[in-house]
Structure formats: structure tokens, C-alpha cells
């Protein structure tokens, strides 16, 4: 039982990170109808920026304070992600208003490769360390309930907490502020939003900025676990089934989808793995999403598409 719980919790926590990346997809898709293939590249770019600036800033300023270095690097990285958002709108999206979905998808694929390349040119292509002081040692919990208790990775715990806070903050922003309302309006109907005086371009910059921040947070958390390296951009591909499962248009869907995939991966690896030879963690999520699509093509919480004939 305690082993099962341990696996379950581990799954929930890595699921939280998938949710975070998936959230980036959903935000941009909702607001602009663009499936942003570059979300993974943005995670990598943000992680590299964080890793390198936290290394460079102490050198430039000649200081020796890890905390301050991280804070400054974070601020600089946020600005870097804002600059990316602004440039994407300015140079790419603005020229593709009202184009086919496939055109926009290809454009984001282009942005993805561009960011991958440029990121490594500017920041280097080694594995860099992100040390934001995440606790590394595992802790024992619930020792009184189970024999031997359950072993929890503190780092995962903190990561899940941060992700949850970010999700709550974003939800409040979307539901309660005027800008959030404008974002939802643009998501529903571009033309109508524009005709009541909502500036599309500015809204897009804002969404890409928000997606940039989620990418940065995801990048820092994954980066501090695995190091900031190229493989981070493939993390996004693992979030794809999450998006399919949750529905492209649903924020709660992204979160719950992420948790299901996380738990499903871990449980299947542990309990099914031995029978089929292991390594099923890698493809399990995709298969789950595929089976899901057969029954609910719009995802768990996605809007059902009803076409008038």
C-alpha cells in the first residue's frame, strides 16, 4: 500500500509539471487559435537563459550571493521571454492574421527550430546547472500510518506547490481582471473582439508573455532536476498527450490531463512494466491519449464542436 501511494504521489508530482507545459499550449491556443509547437523550445530557451544568467551575473557584477544572482537571473529571463513574445507577434503572427490553422502551425514549428538553434548559439549547448536552492533530500512521511512510511522527494513537492500556485494565479488573472476578460473575448471571437475595441496585437503579446512565464517556471523546475539541456524541448512533446486528453481549450483540462498522464505513466511503469518488458513510460501517455480520442475527440473538458449542416 505504501509503495502504491509513493508511486501515485510521484506520478502526481511529475504530472503537475506536464500540466504546466500543457498550460502554455492551452493559453496560446485559446487566445489565438494557434497550436504553438514552439512551447517546448520556449521551455528550453527560458531554462538556458536562467541557467546562464545566474552564472554570468555574479561574474559581471562581481558578487557572491546565490540568492541575489537567482533573483536577477529570473528577472532578466522574464524580460528575455517578453522580448521573445513581442518579436513573435511583431515578426510572425501579425502577418498571418486570419490565415489557415495549418499555416500558423507551420509558422510555430519554424519558431521552435529557430529558438532551439538561437538559444544554443547564444547560451551554449552544454548541460548547465540551475540551482535555485531546491531541497534535494527525500523525506519520510506518514510513518505512523504505514509501516516504514512513504518516501517523498521534497523537490517534487516544492515543484508541485509552485506549479499549483502559478495555476491559481493565472486562473484569477483570467477570470477577474479586465485584461483577462479581453483575453477570453479574443479567444471566443477575433472579429467581434476587434470591433469592440480590443487590440488583437497587444492581446497576443500578452498571451505569449504569459506562456513565456509558464515556460520559464517549467524550465526552471525541470532544469533544476535534469539540468538545462536540449532534451528539455522534448518535454513539450510529452505534454502533447496531456493537451489531447484535457482538451485544447480547457485550462482545468490541461491540469487534470497532466495529472492523469503523470500518474498513468508511473503506475503503468511499475505495475504493467514487468509484464511487457519495461520502458513503457515513454509511450504509455501517447497510447492513453489515442484510446481517449476514440471516445471523446474533444478531450475531457474541451468544447464539443457542433457543426451546422
Amino acid at each position: 500500500m505504501s509503495f502504491f501511494l509513493e508511486t501515485l504521489l510521484g506520478g502526481l508530482m511529475s504530472g503537475m509539471l506536464y500540466s504546466l507545459v500543457a498550460l502554455g499550449f492551452v493559453l496560446i491556443y485559446k487566445a489565438s487559435g494557434v497550436f504553438n509547437f514552439a512551447q517546448g523550445a520556449m521551455v528550453l530557451f527560458a531554462a538556458l537563459s536562467m541557467a546562464r544568467f545566474s552564472e554570468w551575473i555574479p561574474l559581471w557584477l562581481g558578487m557572491d550571493n546565490l540568492f541575489m544572482a537567482n533573483v536577477l537571473a529570473f528577472v532578466v529571463s522574464v524580460m528575455v521571454m517578453f522580448a521573445v513574445a513581442w518579436l513573435v507577434e511583431r515578426l510572425v503572427l501579425r502577418h498571418l492574421v486570419n490565415q489557415e490553422g495549418a499555416t500558423l502551425l507551420m509558422a510555430t514549428l519554424g519558431i521552435a527550430y529557430f529558438l532551439d538553434g538561437v538559444g544554443q548559439t547564444i547560451f551554449g549547448s552544454d548541460i548547465y546547472k540551475i540551482d535555485v536552492g531546491m531541497p534535494k533530500e527525500p523525506v519520510m512521511m506518514l510513518e505512523s500510518v504505514f509501516e516504514g512510511g512513504i518516501l517523498i522527494n521534497k523537490e517534487d513537492f516544492v515543484a508541485a506547490f509552485i506549479s499549483a500556485m502559478l495555476v491559481v494565479a493565472l486562473t484569477i488573472f483570467f477570470q477577474k481582471t479586465a485584461t483577462g476578460r479581453a483575453l477570453r473575448a479574443v479567444a471566443d471571437d477575433h472579429q467581434a473582439a476587434q470591433s469592440i475595441g480590443i487590440p488583437l496585437g497587444r492581446i497576443w503579446v500578452i498571451v505569449w508573455c504569459v506562456a513565456g512565464i509558464t515556460a520559464l517556471v517549467a524550465g526552471i523546475i525541470w532544469g533544476s532536476k535534469l539540468g538545462a539541456q536540449f532534451s528539455l524541448s522534448t518535454v513539450a512533446l510529452r505534454a502533447l498527450p496531456v493537451v489531447i486528453l484535457g482538451g485544447l481549450t480547457s485550462v482545468p483540462g490541461a491540469i487534470i490531463g497532466g495529472l492523469i498522464i503523470g500518474v498513468g505513466e508511473k503506475l503503468s511503469e511499475v505495475y504493467l512494466g514487468p509484464y511487457v518488458g519495461g520502458g513503457i513510460e515513454i509511450w504509455f501517455a501517447y497510447m492513453l491519449a489515442l484510446v481517449f480520442l476514440l471516445f471523446r475527440p474533444q478531450g475531457l473538458f474541451g468544447e464539443k464542436i457542433i457543426d451546422r449542416v
Binding site: 488573472f173 477577474k176 481582471t177 479586465a178 485584461t179 483577462g180 476578460r181 479581453a182 477570453r184 473575448a185 479567444a187 471566443d188 471571437d189 472579429q191 467581434a192 473582439a193 476587434q194 470591433s195 469592440i196 475595441g197 480590443i198 487590440p199 488583437l200 500578452i206 468544447e303
Partner: protein
């Protein structure tokens, strides 16, 4: 007290031509709109009415012609700039934000009037908070005016068609426009709903002094509420004048009744 007193020319359209590839949607159309009047654009299906409205609203850019708003030329206006210039519109196939509540939909109409920046909003600081309340009051007034208090919190997607049309009007009114463009406000409504809508349009015109430009299909309704009417057919203007003048115009009669020329 009536705010209505027909004034100067507020919107002047000169020699507007618009084509999509080989299709000539509008050919050399000129007419003007006076401040505070109710101006209708009528015509049979495919006459170019909606194209005309979309030209005024900046959705389409005419290949030829001038749009003069309050004495200023607007050549390359998009619909965002049109909104800034004081033009609001409703849509033929209702373009509300379906997932949002009635209240939120109407609040979006206040977007241009909100000044608090995104940081103030994000942290729910004083200015953003005050502003939200201020605009909320204005929106509640409009909700009372259009008698939709009972559905304030309902997601618009769930409302019947007639009420959705009313919310669409409410959102446009929330912008406090100088000119209100209505694209077939009565289409698909039953008699009772049509009467309500007519009353609202006249009340808006009367109480707020808003200039109204409306497109309509149904001759009867238009003749009752408009001051002046433009008639289009196959992208050409075939009549312009008071409802009585237009009714007596032989070209208009043949366009509507399909008599041979």
C-alpha cells in the same frame, strides 16, 4: 427629455466601390448620415448591405471611395480603429463571446474606456479596482435599460436567439458609441421580439442621441423607425430618401417585387 435633434453630417461616404475578385459587391455608392438620425440601408438578398456596413466598420477596405467621419478622412481604418473613433456594431450572425456570462460580455464593451494598466490589474490595485466598479455601474444601467437583469449571470451560449441579439446590442451600447451600426437587428425574430427591438433602437436614439445606421431586410419595420433610407440592389444604389419617397420610387418597387424593367 428628448436628446434627439437631427444635426450636421457625421458620416459621409463618397463613391465607395468594393469588389472581391470578379464580384462587384458595391459600385460607386455615395450617401451620408446625419447626426442623431436613424438611417437604414435596405435591399434584397445579396444587394451589398452587409458589405456596406463592413466598409463603414473597417472590416473591408474599399478599392475606391472616401469615408469621411466628422470631417476627417478615414481611408485605412481597421475595426479596432473604428471602435476607437466611436463606431460600435452588432452582428448578423451574433458574434458574442459564448463561454462568458452576459455581464462579462457587456463588460468587454468597456475595454476601450479602461485605463488601468496590466500590472495594476494583475495585482488588483486601487485604480484597477475603482475602475472596474465604475464601469460595472455603467453596465448595470445598460442592463436595466435593455431589460435583461434576469439573465445577467447566464452564459450567453445558453440564451435563446432573441435575447442573444439583445445582449449583442447591450455590448455595443456599453461602448457609448456615437454611431451604432446594426446588422439585421430583427432577423430571425418573432413579432413580439421585433417590436421590443424596435422600441430599444428608438429609445437608444432618443435618450442617448446615438446615430443609428441599420441594415434590414424587412421593409415594414424599417419604414416605421427610420428617418431616411438608402436602397441597394446588386451593389448599386437605387434609391435614397425618406421612407415615403423610397416607397414611391419605381426602381425600389421593381427590385422588391421583381417586376421586369
Amino acid at each position: 427629455m428628448s436628446g434627439r435633434k437631427i444635426g450636421e453630417v457625421i458620416l459621409d461616404l463618397k463613391n465607395i466601390s468594393l469588389s472581391f475578385g470578379g464580384v462587384k459587391a458595391l459600385q460607386d455608392i455615395s450617401f451620408d448620415v446625419l447626426e442623431h438620425e436613424v438611417r437604414a440601408i435596405i435591399g434584397p438578398n445579396g444587394a451589398g448591405k452587409s458589405s456596406m456596413l463592413n466598409v463603414i466598420n473597417g472590416v473591408y477596405r474599399p478599392q475606391h471611395g472616401e469615408i469621411i467621419l466628422r470631417g476627417e478622412h478615414y481611408a485605412n481604418m481597421n475595426s479596432y480603429e473604428a471602435a476607437k473613433a466611436g463606431l460600435a456594431r452588432t452582428f448578423q450572425n451574433i458574434a458574442l463571446f459564448k463561454g462568458m456570462s452576459v455581464l462579462d460580455n457587456i463588460m468587454t464593451g468597456r475595454n476601450l474606456k479602461m485605463k488601468a494598466n496590466i500590472l495594476q490589474q494583475a495585482f488588483w490595485l486601487g485604480p484597477a479596482q475603482r475602475e472596474e466598479l465604475e464601469h460595472r455601474l455603467k453596465v448595470e444601467e445598460i442592463i436595466d435599460f435593455l431589460e435583461i437583469q434576469h439573465i445577467r449571470k447566464t452564459p450567453v451560449g445558453r440564451l435563446p436567439y432573441g435575447l442573444q441579439k439583445r445582449v449583442d446590442l447591450a455590448r455595443a451600447l456599453a461602448m457609448e458609441p456615437q454611431i451604432l451600426l446594426l446588422d439585421e437587428p430583427m432577423a430571425g425574430m418573432n413579432v413580439e421580439e421585433k417590436q421590443d427591438m424596435c422600441r430599444f433602437i428608438l429609445d437608444v436614439n432618443d435618450q442617448f442621441g446615438t446615430t443609428v445606421v441599420l441594415i434590414e431586410h424587412d421593409m415594414g419595420v424599417v419604414m416605421d423607425i427610420s428617418d431616411r433610407v438608402v436602397v441597394l440592389d446588386y451593389g448599386k444604389k437605387i434609391g435614397d430618401g425618406t421612407p415615403d419617397e423610397v416607397r414611391a420610387n419605381p426602381d425600389v418597387i421593381s427590385a422588391y417585387l421583381g417586376a421586369s424593367h
